[in-house]
Symmetry: C2
Subunit: 412 residues, 2 copies
């Protein structure tokens, strides 16, 4: 099977852009990706468009990608709209790679764009209501509540939670299960958050760039115990894009100099497992498969972007990706191993918590960061000597784990 | 590039099923497809799920496919939700083929499921509101109205139009443009509709099975002149599925006996063209490319399923697919060439007008029909000697043509 490369990436600043149309966000990311690749728009033979919220927020569904891209000058090419909740953008990348590998064409665009902020805040939070089975919400909540029940709330907790995404209650329950089982502490989770907020100081495209200490994270407003506000990804607007290209075409066009090879792209959905069977978690299974395809292991990875929609999620993902033993994620953060300069830097971009989380764009924002790292163009946040990188992007919820996950391994 | 085959197909009856959950519809189509292929569920390595309306009708978006398939017993496999308006299901098929051709796996499922009927009828029609640029509706309507203006409405027309999809006004404007330019008559359009309603008598899975004469079609309630009710696809619920398999695996498993080869699957989006430049229509461009890939021409085709969301659409599509010269579509229908037993039978299933049009399932319902035809298992509606078939599936609207189109050529 022929190799496929990322030859260009682009990304808008993430933030709250009430007055910027989705098309403009998508267009800016695509423009940067094309310029980065040194390719004209006409070189793109197919596009895969990730978006999840435009139907809810603006009533635009069905052909969102065609409309966004057509106004930006793309004509005639196949456009596929993909949706996999918060993993939509890495799904678009996976589909773009399949398009190229299938021999349908040599150059494909994957773009994720999301405008989540709405004048009415309720509308933004409503986006998340569709991320699990709408016909089975009560059972889902009951299952998750049961997971968290062995760790009683501390005195005073649960009093101040305001409007929030349903996902934060999910993450809180999973966190309490982990805390009860492994002795993970709220301070460990805060260490993840403080690290990511510290990292994002150096990322000029991050939604937030304010460093925070562990103490500040712990003292912040509670969202759903043990999670406080800075431990949770914000509601962000933004877009990110990548141009993928067959190896043969990249060589023909002389694009291999800054190209990054896609060593593996693996998607998975969940399965029925007991809560304590972490080794059957969909992210573990997808990562194992991706490592096998790429012919590498966790200890070979130099830098990772993982799906820290909450700080707890990162704590668990570093275990599932094999950077430490199961249950050791808290220690890893506490000891600084995942910090820039540490053994295995994680979310050097600031992660979803601080770079921001426009859900349909996040997967490609992770890729944007890792491509910069592998090209050694990440400036003050560069991980020295990075040649192998992994991204983990999760989406939705079913039972006790994400409904879908996508693992991408990049190499240079 | 290795060949890819359809080794199994399934489809529910199409109709109005207010009390049947979407999952049950999807599950029934998948069960039939697996049984048809003689494969167990575990053989499926990836799934591509097409649905457009569940977000609008039920609030389920983001991970609709994962949720529908998981409840039906699928676990662990990659699931991608695709959306391309009324062309979503053929997009899912295209993605499944790319998955297999890319070497990621040998067996993939494409499924389209749609539940459009809602207790409140307004909600069903609201589905269509997202099918064009929601930020540019006025200009779109003005452009289309201008297209139809050269053919004045006859006396009494435009008085009785009730609640309808915005699409029918679009098709009516396009029809009037064609009538003015080529002398096509309302009776020609009615001939298409009468033929399809006649065809569906023999299709036990059709939404409607009542034969109609040209006179009955003309006398029916006006929707948007020149279109009357039986010229328009109904609001339907239903699901359809196909299992695709690499040639090598099909031979290993001994599935080649009833397998149908996918000779081409081509997607396209629209481009800026003048209304009279029919030869630049996206369906013409996609069809030309598909014919070239398959190494065949229009005169080689034995049977076709085309996207007759309105009867006028079929009249135009038979021209764009090259079954007659541009402007001759009316004559073709009038003279019976597209009828079962005619030179090139079109929509022997009854088409969208009479088989029904659950929009996320339609593309795979077309494939279901053509697979039956190529296997010579279509019973009383069998096209004699059919060995080469084409499907045209369109979706959404941008400017003066569909936002997207997908052409599939099948061979046995």
């Amino acid at each position: 099977m022929s190799d496929v490369y990322i030859v260009g990436v682009g990304m808008t600043v993430f933030g709250r852009f009430l007055d910027t149309p989705l098309k403009a966000l998508a267009g800016a990311a695509i423009t940067e990706a094309l310029e980065d690749a040194g390719l004209a728009r006409d070189a793109v033979e197919a596009a895969f468009f990730a978006n999840t919220a435009q139907g809810v927020v603006e009533g635009q569904h069905l052909v969102a990608g065609q409309i966004a891209l057509r106004d930006f000058g793309f004509q005639g090419i196949p456009v596929t709209n993909v949706e996999n909740a918060c993993a939509s953008a890495s799904t678009a990348l996976n589909a773009a790679v399949a398009y190229v590998k299938s021999g349908q064409g040599d150059v494909a665009l994957a773009v994720g764009a999301e405008k989540m902020n709405a004048a009415e805040r309720e509308r933004s939070f409503a986006i998340f209501d569709g991320a699990w089975d709408v016909h089975d919400v009560e059972r889902t909540i009951a299952t998750l509540t049961a997971l968290g029940k062995d760790l009683p709330l501390p005195a005073g907790a649960g009093q101040n939670s305001g409007m929030r995404s349903v996902f934060m209650d999910v993450y809180a329950a999973l966190a309490r299960f982990h805390m009860h089982r492994f002795g993970t502490t709220q301070a460990d989770i805060a260490a993840v958050s403080a690290k990511n907020h510290r990292h994002s100081q150096h990322n000029e495209k991050a939604h937030y760039r304010q460093p925070m200490t562990v103490e500040e994270v712990l003292a912040a407003r509670e969202i759903s115990w043990p999670l406080t506000l800075p431990m949770c990804a914000p509601i962000s607007d933004g877009a990110a894009a990548a141009i993928v290209c067959s190896g043969q075409k990249a060589r023909e066009l002389g694009l291999t100099g800054r190209a990054v090879r896609i060593a593996a792209t693996v998607m998975a959905t969940g399965s029925d497992r007991r809560p304590e069977e972490f080794d059957r978690h969909l992210c573990r299974r997808a990562a194992d498969r991706a490592y096998a395809i790429a012919g590498v292991g966790p200890s070979d990875i130099h830098v990772a972007e993982v799906h820290d929609a909450s700080a707890f999620a990162e704590l668990q993902q570093v275990e599932l990706l094999g950077f430490c033993a199961l249950g050791e994620g808290g220690r890893l953060a506490r000891e600084g191993a995942t910090t820039l300069g540490g053994r295995i830097p994680v979310n050097v971009s600031g992660g979803l918590e601080s770079r921001g989380h426009p859900i349909g764009a996040t997967g490609l924002a992770q890729i944007y960061e890792l491509v910069a790292q592998l090209r050694h163009e990440a400036g003050p946040r560069q991980v020295e000597g990075a040649r192998l990188a992994i991204a983990e992007n999760g989406g939705g919820f079913h039972g006790i784990e994400e409904a879908t996950a996508c693992i991408t391994i990049l190499q240079r």
